[in-house]
Every structure is written in C-alpha cells, then in structure tokens.
C-alpha cells in the first residue's frame, strides 16, 4: 500500500506597524530587553487594549492579497492559558469571527502553478520571549503585544517541497504587499505544521500530528521529510498513530513527542469584552483596496504576456521590484520592450552592481536606454559600439546621440570603406582565410571581428560579412 501526506500550515507573521497592537510602544526588533514596554503591554492591573488601526488595515490588505472574503463582522476573543511570556495569561486573538476567510494563494510548483486554499487569516498579539540563564529565567516583553497575523492553510499541501514553496510564496506576497518584513532571523515569521498520512485513494484523514519549533522554512521542509516517512513506517508496521503535538529538534533532525491529545489545553475562548466588534465600512475597505499591489506570480505572468519577456527576465523584475518599476515605466514608451529589458538587466543592473550605485542616482534619464535601442535597431550604430555608448552614458550622463557624434561611432555602411577594411583583414590573416576556404565557416567570424576592430567598431557587421564572403568565394 502506498501512502500520501496531507499537510496544513499555520503561519504567524508579525505585521509591519509603527506601534504595538494595543498600545503605543514601538514595534521594533532588537532593543535592549524590556525597554519597549508600558503598563498595557505588561498587563499591569487596570489597563485596557485599544486596537491598532493600521494592524486592522494590514490584516484586511493581506486578506485581499490572498483572495479572501472580508467578513462584515469580525471580533476578538480571549484565549486562556498560563505561560510566563504571556503578560495577561490570555492572548487576545480572533477565534470564530476572523478578519479574513476563504482565500487562496497560487505559486509555481512542479513545473506548473499550484493553488493552496487559505482557510482564514486572523489577527492576534505576539507574546514575550523567555530567556534562560544558568539557574534562572527572564522574560523580555518587548515583543509582547506586537501585532501578529496567523494565516491558516487548508490541509491540501502534499509534501515537504510543496510546503516549502508555499511558505516562500506566502513570504513573497507579504513582503510585496508591504504587510510584513517577514524576516525569519528576527522571528517575524513562525510556522506550525499539521501533518497526517493516509493510503492513496482514501478520503478519511489520518491522525493529525502537529509539529512545532521550526525556525526556518528549510526547517519545515526537513521536519516534514522526517515526519512523513516516520508516520508511514508506523502504519506499515501495523502500528497506530495518535493525535499529538511533536517538537522538531533541528540539531538532531528528528521530531519528538511534546504533548498528547489528553494533555491538550482547553483554551476557554470567549469574546473579548474590552474591544468592540470590528465592522469595516465601505469607505474603509475602499482605502484598503487602493493599497492592493500585484502579486509576484501574477506580475511575472503579466510581464511575460504584456512585453513578451522570457520567464527569467520577468522573474528578475519581480524579485527586484525597483528595477521592475524602472522597466515598466520605460516599457510603456518602448517600441521593443524586450530589447529595453535586455539593456536594463544585462547592462544597467550589472553596471549598477559594479559601481555600487542606485537607480535613483543614475546620471541619465531612462529614455536614453530607448535611444540606444533605436540606434542599434536602425543600424545607426553596431551593437559593439552600443556597448561603448552605454558605458559612456552611464558614467557621464550624456545623450547617446551626442556620444555617437563626439566619439565618431556612427556605423559605416559605405561599401567602399568596408571593402578596404576587408582587404586589409584578408591580407593580414592568411591562415583563417585558408581555413574558411577549406570549409571552416567559423573562420569568417574571426575575419569579421578583424574588420570591426580595424573600423573601431563602426563597420556595419552584416555588410562586412557579405563583402568578406563575396571576396573569399
């Protein structure tokens, strides 16, 4: 019997707000312990939460980016459990009326586009961080009360690699949407996995096992690469799995039992009486819709379709958003956007990297790139001359036409002048001439190169080729 895995992911993401979820403390990573705290996020007696409006907006925005429905009525609830990193010993979260439901995310996987449905995205508060010393422990509450979005997928991920790609796609969406910096190393994204296995072809889900404590996407992949075969092996040996929570041991590369179903918490959820239900108005939603950006995959597909870009170029513009924006602004005016993309990716990006510059600091207006494309396409300059023109334009900011003029780079299409260069090349290189005549066609390219060299790049290369061929017949 062969088995398949059924995986659902719960991804926690810190939202990119200036202040925390219920108070005015800075939402900031890396400050000295307990320096970004106040009575509210410390849960002192008598304090009350006030919802951060921007966190509500970013939650709705994420919902839209993930193709979710935004319910007209959402509310907060208290999730009760005791832990030293929890200032109130209850977490304010959204239990049965979350801010976003029923969405999906598309991403490239296995040579095609995969879709995973999103069950819900709900807003809650982060907790503090326990720090263990030799004999004592401390708690840093700087993180307590940071707005946290939990994005829950449907259990329809089928393997470790797909889970990994799903997480990367989700991260792309969040970063592109300006919702989160999604920096794993700063703990801005955390992920719990629910995984079960079942015989292929059956409908009923196996015993659900939750895995916690992965601190990277590759950790999630490794945990699943361990856990799925483990579960299958248990079943194949005729054993039984039980519903439980397991902990991923990253160093050991294994999962181990953390708590059984019997030890599961009863969180005693109930509506948070200190906060009013949230009922977004149409005007408020319209504001959010205006903030919706194009998702990475959709953008890639559109760039390919709209500008006939190859997949790799489109992907480059998706990854490097500033470069993509630069391209798109230019492409709208371009007769041949694909050539403009080539110049931007192969020349502009490379020169910027080499010079350590930025797009904002360029010395020339973007339209000059179109000028170069035009000069090449109308055969006014050769492509090798164009390289010189670009380098000159990049360093000095002069218009391509001026550079061509000043440097005398205009392509020579005068057959008489080119014939003279060809004669010189033939005379100087009898070896290649002999090679060509004995059938080595590639030798013509060498001679053509000599003609270009002699002409200082100005000779029309096609014309040079024709003349050489004629002379060597």
């Amino acid at each position: 019997m062969s088995y398949e895995a059924v995986i659902g992911l719960e991804t926690h993401v810190q939202l990119k707000t200036k202040s925390k979820m219920w108070c005015g403390c800075a939402n900031e990573f890396g400050a000295p312990p307990n320096t970004r705290v106040c009575p509210v996020c410390l849960g002192l007696p008598g304090v009350l939460p006030v919802a951060n409006e921007e966190a509500l907006r970013l939650t709705a925005l994420t919902g839209l980016l993930l193709n979710c429905t935004l319910p007209s009525h959402a509310k907060f609830d208290r999730k009760n459990y005791f832990y030293p990193d929890m200032p109130k010993n209850y977490q304010i979260t959204q239990y049965d009326k979350p801010s976003a439901i029923n969405g999906h995310i598309d991403f490239e996987f296995g040579g095609g586009v995969a879709r995973v449905r999103i069950t819900r995205a709900h807003l809650e508060e982060d907790v503090g961080k326990n720090i263990h010393f030799d004999r004592t422990s401390g708690v840093d509450f700087n993180r307590a009360g940071v707005p946290l979005l939990e994005i829950v997928s449907e259990p329809e991920i089928t393997g470790a690699d797909m889970a990994y790609e799903y997480l990367n796609a989700l991260k792309d969406v969040l970063i592109h949407g300006g919702v989160s910096d999604a920096d794993m190393e700063k703990g801005m994204v955390r992920c719990d996995v629910n995984v079960s296995v079942r015989p292929v072809g059956t409908e009923a889900l196996g015993k659900k096992i939750e895995i916690k404590n992965m601190n990277s996407f590759s950790g999630v992949r490794r945990a699943l690469e361990y856990e799925i075969p483990r579960q299958i092996a248990v079943l194949e040996k005729g054993g039984q799995l039980t519903q439980e929570t397991r902990r991923w041991d990253d160093a050991g590369g294994i999962t181990e039992t953390m708590r059984s179903k019997e030890m599961a918490h009863d969180y005693r959820y109930f509506p948070e009486p200190d906060l009013m239900p949230f009922e977004p108005t149409e005007a408020w939603l319209e504001e959010i819709r205006r903030r919706v950006v194009e998702l990475p995959l959709a953008k890639k597909q559109r760039l390919m379709r709209q500008y006939q870009l190859p997949a790799a170029d489109a992907q480059t513009f998706v990854w490097d958003r500033a470069l993509g924006d630069y391209f798109e602004a230019l492409a709208r005016k371009a007769k041949n956007p694909k050539s403009a993309a080539n110049w931007i990716i192969n020349n502009l990006r490379a020169q910027l990297a080499a010079a350590g510059g930025t797009l904002a600091g360029l010395k020339f207006p973007p339209e000059y790139i179109l000028d170069i494309v035009d000069l090449v396409e109308s055969r006014k300059i050769s492509s090798s001359a164009a390289q010189l023109v670009f380098a000159e334009m990049f360093s000095g900011g002069e218009a391509p036409a001026v550079i061509v003029e000043n440097k005398g780079l205009a392509q020579v299409s005068d057959a008489g002048a080119i014939e003279a260069y060809c004669d010189q090349a033939i005379a100087a290189h009898p070896g290649p001439v002999a090679d060509y005549k004995s059938g080595k066609a590639a030798a013509l390219n060498f001679l053509k190169g000599q003609v270009m060299k002699l002409s200082k790049g100005k000779a029309n290369p096609n014309l040079a080729g024709e003349i050489l061929e004629r002379k060597l017949k």
Binding site: P45, G46, V47, P49, V50, N80, F82, N89, R268
Partner: protein, 489 residues
C-alpha cells in the same frame, strides 16, 4: 465640622476664601484618626501627599482659579482600592498584589485631578470587588458607621462607610452588580452606577469587564452629579467608552419632575423583602406622586434569571481578568519548582476563598463542553434582560425599586452562605446586565436598630440626568440624606 459638608457647600466656602483646602483636608484626616479604629474604611492613606495636594489647591485658589474652571478644586475625594493611582499602593483588597505600587493614574483619577480634587486614600473593599459585605477584604472588614457590628455592604463598603462617616467629602467606587448602590443604601449615602460606557474603565482593575463601571458615592444628589460630571466622557484608552462629552449633570437639578413616569416592576415585589424596607420604598413612591410623577406598573419578566445569568458572565470574565496575578511580573510570589507550581502556590496563597470560588466557577462555565450550556446561554438571557428594560423604558422614564431587600446585616451573618449573599443582589444585578444606569439614595431608616434604607432608581441608557433630577427633587422634601450616624463626634 468642615468634613461634614457637601462638595457644593465647601466649593462655595473655598471660592469665597472662608476656608482653605488645607483646613478641609485636615478636618478629614482628623476625622479619620478618630473613627478609623471603629470603622476601618481605609486600607491605607497617604496624609502627607493629601496635604501637599491641598496646599497646591490653595495656591490655585489664591491664583484665582474658579469652581467653574475646576469644580472639585480643594475637595478631598477618597478612592476605592481597585483604581490605579500613580505612586500609591494598588491591592484590590487582596494579598496577591503584595507591595505593588501603581506606576500610572486611572483615567478617572486624571479627570479628578484636572477638576482640582484632592485624590487620597485606598478604600477597603471585598477582594477584587467580589462580595456584598466587604467581609472578603484580606485587610479585615469595614464596619457600618450606623452600627459597627454590621456590614457596610460591598464591594465598595469602604467608600460608602467613609462618606457616611464624613472621613472624606465624596468617594469613587466601582459597581459590577450593585457594588456602589448596595453599600450606599446600607450606609445612607447616594451612590450612582453610570451607564456602561459613560465613564472610562482605564485604570479600574477589572472584575467583569462587560459589567464594571466606576461611579461616585456622595452625601447628596448634587455632589454625585458634580463628581459624575468630572469623571465622565470619552476616553481613547477605553474602546468601550462612548463618544462625545458628558452633559452638565447639575443643570438637571431644578426640582422639576412633574409628568415624569416612574415604573414599578411587579417582579420586584418579592417574598424576601423586609417589611420596613418595603414600607419605606412605598412611602417614597407616594412622595414622588405628590411631586407630580406618574406611577406606572411595568413588567421585567426575566428578573428571576438575573442572578444566575450574572454569576455565569461575571465569573467567566473574572476567570480571565484575574489570570494575570501569577507572581511572575509583579505582586506577591511564592516560589515553586516549575512555573505551574509557582502559579499554584502564588495564587493559592494570594487569593481568598470567594475569589477562588468565582475563578473556578468562571473557568467551568467557559470550559469545552459546557460553554454552550452556560456562557452562551447566559449571554442570550442577558440580551433578553436588556430587552426587558428597553421595553419598559418605552413606557417610563425611570424604574423605582428597593436597592437591597434588607438593611445592613451583622458581620459574619451570611459569611458561610454564599448563595444567600448572592441573592441579596437581586435588585441591583440586572442594571449591570442591561448596561443601564442606576442610583441609590436614602429613603428612611429601620426603627431598631436605626439603619439606613436605600431607594434605587434605574434609568435609560445615558439617562443619568433623569436619575439625578429625581433624586435631587426627593431630597428637597425628605430629611434622610442629612442624617448622620451615631459615631462619636
């Protein structure tokens, strides 16, 4: 004696420079020194700080600040130990907070300070406001100034006793199921529970968040109006506080109540009602008729479910609200072998029996498998109870009831019977469930011993003006609010 006067009287004297704030504050402190031994209204008070505030108030007065600008300027107002006052202890009548000092002011405290009041003292209360007698304080019971063998009511027993005994001019209390009105009734002062949302709860240590409101305990209706006016209004730090500014409540005190309709609920004519209490309330009804009010019989059909509903919702919320007292970050800690052990030992030693009882009850009604049968059902009944009141208020401007079925009982009399204690809240509890406002004022005395009887007026949402108008008009033709308890002078 200055401490026996009302805010209104003292504010006039201060403005005319007949007395100083220091003299008033000293009079209160002298009184406290003399009677605290027999009453124990205060858990603690910071006399030096109070005198400093009084001196500052006097400087304002010399500088020309008027009572129009600061209506409570130089008036000593004492604070229930459930409200956060910066730099002062905050214990909620419990051992669990240990030596905790609040690093911030509650919104009502800020507002009192803006109005010029001298904010002082930590008034005794049932632990975390859970109780009706102030016997549940871990600092020892407060005694009723009218008979020190009796309870002052609760949970704001310290507030009511201090006002009745003239240890302060007015006080703040909190009311979750009657905790302002019932002690006001049993001690013979005026107590007002505002509509939910009228007063910011920021800085009020929560018992039951959806029921709690802060309100004044005062010597008469006008003083209650003055304090309510000072502490009301929208607060951005409390999402449940309503938008807009509060009206000038004293403007309603013109004695005119002709044509107002007062409702008598047939469901409130219960068997357990004390005969003298019933007679006093009946007499008050007649007096209102004489003043021109119209008496209308109404029905509040879900009254019988109120106590059960209340003890589900209030305890559920309390079980979460009190979870933060765990010994980790502040307050008392009893060390343990691991965090769970530390929690158990700390909370086991820090909380009293009634608080534990309610936390357990609250955790139970929220637990998986019981939630629907208890908490969810109670929420539905709560909606019906609110609807009962809103329907009644289609017909009447206010509802008139006894505040408590009996006058003050003896200390220890009901201590072993929590259910009997819960049932004594029958008239006050629905008001919090419905989120409406309620006021208790003195309406007579029992014969022997002489103990105050309270009349309760329940008003529409944000109908505080009507309640104050009614209470004030009644005071104009009755002597009860002027009577003083038989404490040594």
């Amino acid at each position: 004696m200055l401490n026996e006067l009302t805010i209104w009287e003292l504010a006039g004297k201060l403005e005319r420079r007949e007395v100083s704030a220091l003299e008033i504050m000293r009079a209160c402190l002298d009184r406290i020194e003399r009677v605290e031994g027999s009453i124990h209204s205060f858990i603690s008070y910071d006399a030096a700080d109070a005198l400093e505030q009084a001196a500052a108030a006097d400087r304002h007065l010399v500088g020309g600040t008027t009572r129009r600008q600061k209506p409570l300027l130089g008036i000593p107002i004492a604070i229930k130990d459930v409200l956060a006052v910066r730099g002062q202890p905050l214990n909620c009548g419990s051992k669990i907070l240990g030596q905790f000092i609040s690093p911030y002011d509650a919104t009502v405290i800020e507002k009192l300070r803006e109005a010029g009041a001298i904010v002082f003292g930590r008034l005794n209360m049932d632990e975390f406001a859970m109780g009706s007698s102030t016997e549940n304080s871990s600092f020892g019971p407060t005694r009723n100034p009218w008979d020190t063998s009796r309870i002052p009511g609760g949970s704001s027993g310290g507030s009511a006793a201090a006002v009745a005994a003239d240890e302060c001019i007015a006080a703040l209390g909190s009311d979750t199921g009657g905790s302002i009105r019932q002690p006001a009734a049993l001690c013979g002062c005026v107590g007002l529970k505002p509509t939910y949302g009228r007063v910011s709860r920021y800085g009020l240590v929560a018992f039951a968040s959806s029921l709690d409101q802060i309100g004044p305990l005062a010597k008469d209706a006008r003083d209650a109006a003055l304090v309510l006016g000072a502490i009301s209004g929208h607060d951005a730090r409390d999402s449940t506080s309503v938008e807009g500014t509060a009206p000038d409540y004293t403007a309603a005190l013109d004695g005119r109540i002709k044509g107002l309709k007062l409702g008598l609920a047939k469901e409130y004519m219960i068997g357990g009602l004390d005969g003298e209490v019933g007679a006093a309330v009946q007499a008050a009804v007649s007096q209102y008729e004489k003043l021109g009010a119209e008496i209308v019989e109404i029905s509040l059909p879900r009254t019988e479910f109120a106590v059960a509903t209340y003890y589900i919702i209030a305890t559920a919320e309390a079980s979460a609200n009190l979870a933060r007292f765990d010994g980790i970050r502040y307050g008392r800690r009893v060390e343990g072998s691991d965090p769970i052990d530390l929690y158990c030992k700390t909370r086991g030693a820090g909380f009293g029996a009634e608080v534990k009882r309610r936390i357990i009850l609250g955790a139970y009604v929220l637990s998986s498998g019981y939630y629907d049968a208890y908490y969810l059902r109670a929420q539905k009944v709560r909606t019906l109870i609110r609807r009962d009141f809103l329907n009644a208020f289609d017909k009447v401007d206010a509802i008139i009831t006894p505040t408590s079925p009996t006058a003050a009982f003896k200390i220890g009399e009901k201590a072993d019977d929590p259910l009997q204690m819960y049932l004594s809240d029958i008239f006050t509890i629905s008001c919090n469930l419905a989120g409406i406002c309620g006021l208790s004022l003195p309406c007579g005395f029992t014969a022997s011993p002489k103990l105050p009887i309270g009349l309760q007026l329940l008003g529409k949402p944000f109908g505080e003006e009507t309640l104050l108008r009614l209470a004030h008009a009644y005071e104009q033709i009755t002597p009860w609010h002027n009577e003083k308890p038989p404490l040594e002078r």
